[in-house]
């Protein structure tokens, strides 16, 4: 019996399970040993794929390009080689025009060991996403790994055409530990796991409209969720950006005094905000739809 949890799977397992069987072909594979020169210089363990697997395949027979970050290797952090592999994939997407480019994100952000090279890599990823989208490529971020989606990768995810998350996924700019370090434990207790998920987890992001498709945390959930997002592509137009800007302004106004996800949910009209983390995904989605309609 193979486990089907997206959260616990490795990057390679995720690709195999998300794409159509036997359709994946890797680019710049591990046998090429394109490892991080910075980690080598620091005498730290390297990975043959530098923590990201890239390649092509099909999803429901439609051609896709895919990148999957390995959250287990230095927290999925983006280094120079790692970033270049993702950028190369997105540039290929502009030439090949697949049905979508999929980013399975599992990353704490920039790889601090690589300093400026890592920061530049992240900014290049963001630029490549926007360039590909303006060429009409649909780019879908899927977030549901143990390292979450933070820092520069949080910005990158927000730049994608659609974000697919599980409840276990976490999406934010600053990670819990970073907020606590910068602003104190009174501001944010990073060891309060429930608080972390109430402010950064998939359900909360869905209610705030940062997440477009909320799925169950198993492989089938992500496969179906990504396919659904591919069906409803968001194009990068001035109107879409203005709509988004208006949504953000409205959000700032309505929730500016909220201290916790629970406050947000109460304001949104959830009758029992403390039960939000407990309800199953389908019940949650039905309730959210009813509240939005109201």
């Amino acid at each position: 019996m193979r486990h089907r949890s997206f959260y616990e799977a490795t990057a390679r397992q995720r690709i195999v399970e998300i794409l159509d069987a036997h359709s994946f072909a890797e680019l710049v594979g591990p046998e090429q040993r394109t490892v991080s020169p910075h980690m080598q210089a620091l005498q730290l363990p390297v990975a043959f794929d530098d923590g990201v697997v890239v390649g092509r395949g099909t999803l429901h027979t439609k051609p896709v390009l895919i990148a999957a970050q390995e959250g287990g290797f230095v927290g999925g952090a983006v280094g120079e080689v790692h970033g270049a592999k993702i950028v190369g994939l997105l540039e290929r997407a502009r030439r090949e025009r697949p049905a979508a480019a999929l980013l399975l994100i599992d990353s704490g952000g920039v790889r601090l060991h690589e300093a400026n090279a890592g920061l530049i890599a992240v900014s290049e990823i963001i630029r490549a996403i926007l360039a590909a989208r303006s060429d009409g490529v649909t780019i879908i971020a899927a977030i549901g790994g143990a390292s979450g989606c933070f820092g520069g990768m949080g910005i990158a995810a927000a730049c994608c055409s659609a974000v697919v998350m599980s409840e276990e996924g976490r999406l934010a700019l600053s990670g819990p530990e970073v907020i606590e370090t910068a602003h104190g434990v009174e501001e944010f207790d990073s060891r309060d796991r429930a608080l972390v998920w109430r402010t950064m987890g998939g359900k909360h992001r869905y209610l705030l409209e940062d997440c477009d498709v909320l799925v169950d945390g198993d492989m089938e959930g992500f496969r179906a969720g990504i396919a659904a997002a591919m069906e409803a592509p968001q194009s990068l137009t001035l109107e879409a950006l203005e709509r988004e800007q208006a949504m953000l302004a409205r959000r700032l106004q309505i929730f500016s005094s909220s201290r916790d996800g629970r406050d947000v949910w109460r304001t949104l009209g959830w009758p029992n905000p403390e039960t939000v983390p407990l309800v199953p995904t389908d019940v949650f989605l039905a309730q959210a739809a009813a509240l939005r309609a109201a």
Partner: protein
């Protein structure tokens, strides 16, 4: 001179019996016996010839190295031939040690320490499959080898042997000389497994004529690394306790000869010697001579010139080259490698050291401390021998005599006859991980004794041997307490916010502090706020070890190509994990391994794991590259097997 009864009795029955055993072996194995040498596949038959039912057998299980091949072989003897053995061994470490009892090959056990097998041992005792004679300290068990528990057969392990049976034990000599001495000179059988047979051993640790048979084991013996503590995990609180210990005990008494227990508390002391102790001007005055395993954390103190000599119980994987390069400090042979000896080092720690300091799990109001936990029979090892006053000691030293003077004032009246006293220090933070209090009204050891039917609770260090307790709250000097009530308050007075500490009588505690029985950091002129990891001489293993990654290469000839060509990668370079890349390569049928690992000094373990892997699959024309991040052998073996499965394409999802 007529003594007919004496004339009728034979006085060499053990020698006669030994000869019978050897004749049985010769007739059954015939020309498969090559002098002292015997092949691995013949060992089970040999054991069936030379072991008799009811024999007292020592199966060498040390704290670190294990006669693992012979242990496995002994589990395969026919129980109708070999049964009811009485096992006498210091450490019950391997599953095979207990398999013997499940298979009814052995029935009785005398031992010192069971560590990882403690839970299963407790279950087997409850099921009446094992009768425990007694649980000893090392020195007690070793002593009984020469009194009433002399092994009839000893199954031991060494690094190498020559054809004459001379053994080289390498740095991990440990218990071997003592076991062989007790067995060989009482007409016993000594069988040694060795990692290799050589024409000439680097040095003779055991003379060949004490050894009956030698077998080359298919894989190198297992050695457990035990003493390496990553400085990165030492806390500021441990730094504070170490500062108080150095200033309030080591400097105060002038402790020159000592032993440290294993743990982060004592590693912190070791790493403060070249920084904090140096700043107090203590070089040459404290910590000069040690009975201690080669702790990596002591390297900075050695390099700083504090340490003049160290005798070791065993060795530590990864420290071999460092030790060999410092023969002035360590006990080394003419071949350059260390010779350890657990029995002698235990003796040195007991009689020739002025101080023992160690951590514990629980301390009660009498100062008794215990590491026993429910549902496990863990035993003692050596700590009680170190952490006990040596009542037989007669030579004086500054520290010993001063402690003796303090102890003689106990209960308010001075003894006329001067006598010294060993310093026995327990160092603990008041709460352990998960907020478990280190101070308790009643030790779990009482329940352990009840549930396992032990004659007395398994106490590691008895309260009347403890002279000082060090916590983050200060030092309690138990020798200066005049009544048992005072002693209890002295312990409560350093027990912090534990329930025991909260129950203190504040006035009595303040009074004890006025008298110097309890000393806080500020009483020692230590600013607790200055306690910081910045003071540690090394803050990571990398600081201790120099360069970080170790590159290992192995090549095995004689494999078979499986025809696969697509490279596969399995696993992730996460902490405690690794990735394995397997790909075809033209290597004349060989299988080549390239390994990068941050865990330095484990080449022997890697070699053993990789050899077993090659023996399982015999892959040829394959290159296997590994990026390791501190994976255990079990994980390495699992990933390797998964990689082969993927590579061969057997795996179907």
């Amino acid at each position: 001179m007529n003594a007919p009864s004496l004339l009728l009795r034979r006085w060499d029955q053990r020698a006669q019996n030994l000869e019978q055993r050897l004749v049985r072996a010769r007739s059954r194995l015939g020309n498969r016996l090559n002098g002292r040498l015997v092949a691995a596949q013949d060992v089970v038959e040999l054991l069936e010839c030379v072991i008799e039912p009811g024999d007292c057998v020592c199966l060498e299980g040390n704290n670190q190295k294990q006669a693992d091949f012979l242990a496995e072989a002994l589990t395969r003897v026919d129980p109708s031939i070999v049964h009811d053995l009485h096992m006498v061994q210091s450490v019950v470490a391997l599953p095979q040690h207990l398999d013997l009892f499940e298979k009814r090959i052995a029935s009785k056990l005398d031992f010192s320490f069971s560590g990882p097998q403690g839970a299963r041992l407790a279950q087997l005792v409850a099921d009446r499959r094992i009768a425990i004679g007694a649980i000893h300290t090392y020195l007690e068990l070793f002593s009984r080898y020469f009194v009433d528990l002399t092994p009839r057969v000893a199954l031991i392990t060494a690094e190498s042997a020559d054809p004459q049976g001379n053994l080289y034990t390498g740095p991990n000599t440990e218990d071997t000389p003592l076991i062989v001495e007790a067995t060989a000179f009482k007409n016993g059988v000594v069988i040694a497994q060795v990692n290799e047979i050589v024409s000439r051993v680097p040095r003779v640790d055991i003379p060949g004529d004490w050894v009956t048979h030698v077998v080359q084991s298919p894989a190198p013996h297992h050695i457990e690394p035990l003493f390496t503590r990553d400085p990165a995990r030492i806390t500021d609180i441990q730094v504070l306790m170490a500062m108080m210990t150095i200033k309030g005990i080591y400097a105060e008494y002038g402790v020159e000869r000592l032993n440290h227990g294993i743990g982060f508390d004592t590693a912190a002391i070791e790493l403060l010697i070249p920084t904090y102790a140096e700043s107090l001007g203590l070089k040459g005055k404290i910590c000069r001579h040690w009975a201690l395993n080669p702790h990596p954390a002591l390297i900075p103190a050695i390099e700083a010139g504090f340490v003049e000599s160290i005798h070791c119980f065993g060795s530590e994987l990864g420290m071999e080259a460092y030790i060999a390069a410092r023969p002035d400090i360590f006990f080394t042979g003419h071949d350059g490698s260390m010779r350890s000896n657990r029995a002698f080092c235990q003796m040195a720690g007991h009689y020739a050291c002025d101080l023992f300091i160690g951590s514990t799990l629980q301390i009660d109001l009498e100062g008794n401390s215990s590491t026993a936990t429910l549902d496990r029979i863990a035993g003692f090892g050596g700590a009680p021998n170190m952490g006990a006053d040596a009542r037989g000691r007669r030579h004086g030293s500054q520290a010993w005599l001063r402690a003796g003077r303090e102890a003689s004032l106990r209960y308010g009246h001075s003894q006329r006859m001067p006598r010294g006293r060993k310093l026995v220090v327990q160092i603990v933070e008041t709460f352990r991980d998960h907020m478990l209090p280190a101070f308790v009204e009643r030790l779990d050891a009482w329940e352990v004794a009840d549930s396992a039917g032990m004659p007395l609770p398994p106490v590691m260090i008895y309260g009347d041997d403890v002279t000082h307790i060090v916590t983050e709250e200060g030092i309690a000097n138990l020798m200066l307490c005049r009544t048992s009530a005072e002693r209890e308050q002295a312990i409560r007075g350093v027990a912090g916010y534990t329930p025991v500490g909260l129950e203190r009588d504040r006035r009595t505690v303040e009074n004890l502090r006025d008298r110097g029985v309890i000393r806080r950091a500020e009483d020692l002129d230590i600013d607790a706020r200055s306690a910081s990891r910045d003071m540690l001489a090394a803050r990571s293993i990398k600081d201790l070890a120099g360069t970080f990654l170790e590159h290992l290469q192995y090549r095995f000839a004689g494999g078979y190509s499986c025809g696969a060509v697509t490279p596969r990668v399995v696993g992730v370079v996460a902490s405690g994990n690794l990735e394995v890349l397997i790909e075809a390569a033209t290597l004349d049928g060989a299988c080549a391994f390239d390994i990068d690992t941050p865990a330095r000094g484990f080449a022997r373990v890697w070699q053993a794991v990789i050899s077993d892997f090659f023996a399982r699959h015999r892959l040829g024309d394959v290159r296997i590259s590994i990026n390791d991040n501190g994976a255990t052998p079990a994980t390495v073996a699992l990933r390797l097997d998964q990689a082969v499965e993927e590579y061969r394409g057997v795996s179907q999802r």
